[in-house]
Symmetry: C2
Subunit: 345 residues, 2 copies
């Protein structure tokens, strides 16, 4: 076994930091580390937190960390900033890092710089989650900056995706909703003490209702059964779920909260826990988990293939590029020849 | 030769529409079409148009089409909407399609639905550009919806990238600037009759000045040499460039315009033309073109590899997914075995 793996499994703080860096750098040696750690993973509840800038994700994450810590759970946080392929920094992570959890040994926070190449970031995030999982983080939050396609891809590596909205963010919220609906497992309408919170909730309800007829049915059934600050279509199921089995069909609940004052956080934590049970205990949840795993294997295959090809072909790729540049060959034929070479044909 | 290729080269409108669909669907047979068309490509000026929603890209594109048509050039437009992996539609394209150029045989407009998988979209855009190029479009505009990483990737398939800004778009503009700087060849500050236009120009100037010391030097040199509505750092070079050779080092000019009234469009068209000459006639421009070509070969290799592997391995991939799901094997080892199988080892 990788010596680093042993130290990570022994809850060595420096080792996990090194392991994460190792995996994020993707120098090749990280694969053995991940193989060694894999049998010790699968225990953490991985929660993706996404939503528009300005929705208050950082403050909400801070409150969630606090709530999970009160339950005695250790927390790992990956703050991912894929919005700029050039900044090379992860602003959010730094913001959180300076927060009050920085000195708590039960909280491990790491910001993830963008990889600059498409596709690689979600694989990177998935592998870093595994490192934190093996290290022993019981809850792992993956916080993203915005709600673009990259972020949606990243949240697909999580068991539960929390989408944070806030009133008054304007058109951007509308524009991004289409993609958000399919990736959201739980909605939090933060800053719910502001004007427009109810209208944001109604917009989301409508959106969910329009999503599928089944969802619409669930929405109309749950309306009028508002408990605490649980207000959305799936909230009745959440409210009823203290100990009861999770519903077979998941409808994203919409929960109001005011993260700055810590209001609505307990209900949110409960909804996240119920969703985790849905993933683990229902047939639909297990089917989704398998689908995501299949995606991972295919994505991993894609990345590993190009890495293996670059390593096997080396200088031949550069020669092909030169030939295409000189228009001696078209890029399509050049690619085919490289693949034949790679396969030893 | 592919019969469709012959018809596209003979400027058959139906054939180019079919060819674009064929290439966008990526069913496999499109590769032979692209091979046949490749020797007839490389003539068009490919211009990527990106910028925040609300900056007025569609109106500006409409004006650019008008200006190019007045020069007697045929125009192809690809309107790409990668922001939502689920919408399956390209809103922008439809908006343009209904515009006044719809009945002009010298203008071909096609909207591109997102492919739903990362990495594939820029390859798709590049291949569709080749089809339009072979068909005979002299200017090809690739219009994107937003300014995310996907859009930046797509603009890298263009020879010239025009970034459209507008005053008063707020924080999002700030946030996205870091990524925009590196991809912009020309900046248009649209809606320049509005309050805040000068401050947007100053922000951009500052940003460019901060970008590199060389850029800063160019910026301070060009200040005070404002000609027409050309206001930015690189504008002196543009203004001087009627017939003069393009500058060896390119500094993105910042041009004010009011697309709704057609103001500043002529200057913009001139700047785009000067940039094209920079790409084709300077050493730095040629170096960039070669770099982009190398990126294409590597990206194409990545896509073709996974396609070849999926086709060669078939059911074995599903079996690997099941084994990983049952935790009989870790995803990393499963991937390695699949690659060995693919390579016939």
């Amino acid at each position: 076994m990788h010596e680093l793996a042993e130290r990570i499994l022994a809850h060595d703080l420096r080792a996990v930091a090194r392991g994460l860096r190792f995996v994020d750098d993707r120098t090749g040696g990280h694969v053995q580390l991940l193989k060694d750690l894999f049998p010790h993973t699968g225990k953490a509840h991985v929660i993706g937190v996404t939503g528009n800038p300005g929705a208050g994700k950082s403050t909400l994450c801070d409150r969630l960390i606090e709530a999970f810590r009160k339950e005695g759970k250790t927390v790992g946080v990956l703050a991912v900033d894929p919005t700029s392929p050039y900044s090379g920094g992860a602003i959010l992570g730094d913001r959180i890092r300076m927060g009050r959890h920085a000195t708590d040994p039960g909280v491990f926070i790491r910001s993830v710089a963008t990889r600059g190449h498409l596709g690689g970031l979600s694989q990177s995030a998935r592998d870093m989650v595994r490192v934190l999982d093996a290290y022993g983080s019981e809850v792992i939050l993956i916080e993203t900056v915005g709600v673009g396609q990259d972020e949606i891809e990243i949240t697909r590596t999580a068991a539960t995706t929390l989408v944070v909205m806030a009133p008054g963010l304007g058109d951007d919220v509308q524009a991004s909703k289409a993609g958000i609906l399919e990736c959201a497992d739980v909605f939090a309408v933060n800053k719910a003490d502001r004007d427009g919170a109810d209208s944001t909730v109604r917009d989301l309800e409508l959106m969910i209702a329009l999503g599928t007829e089944t969802m619409a049915a669930a929405a109309s059934k749950s309306r009028g059964h508002v408990v605490h600050s649980n207000v959305g279509p799936g909230s009745a199921a959440i409210a009823a779920a203290d100990g009861a089995p999770p519903p077979e069909r998941w409808t994203p609940p919409i929960l109001k909260c005011v993260a700055t004052r810590g209001e609505g956080i307990a209900e949110l934590v409960k909804a996240l826990a119920v969703h985790r049970r849905w993933v683990e205990e229902t047939e639909a949840g297990r089917a989704r988990r398998e689908l995501r795993l299949a995606e991972e294997v295919r994505e991993g295959l894609r990345e590993a293939l190009i890495e293996a090809a670059v390593s096997a072909l080396g200088e031949k790729i550069d020669a092909a590029v030169r030939a295409v540049g000189a228009r001696e060959v078209d890029p399509y034929a050049a690619t085919e020849r490289l693949i034949e070479e790679f396969r030893g044909r």
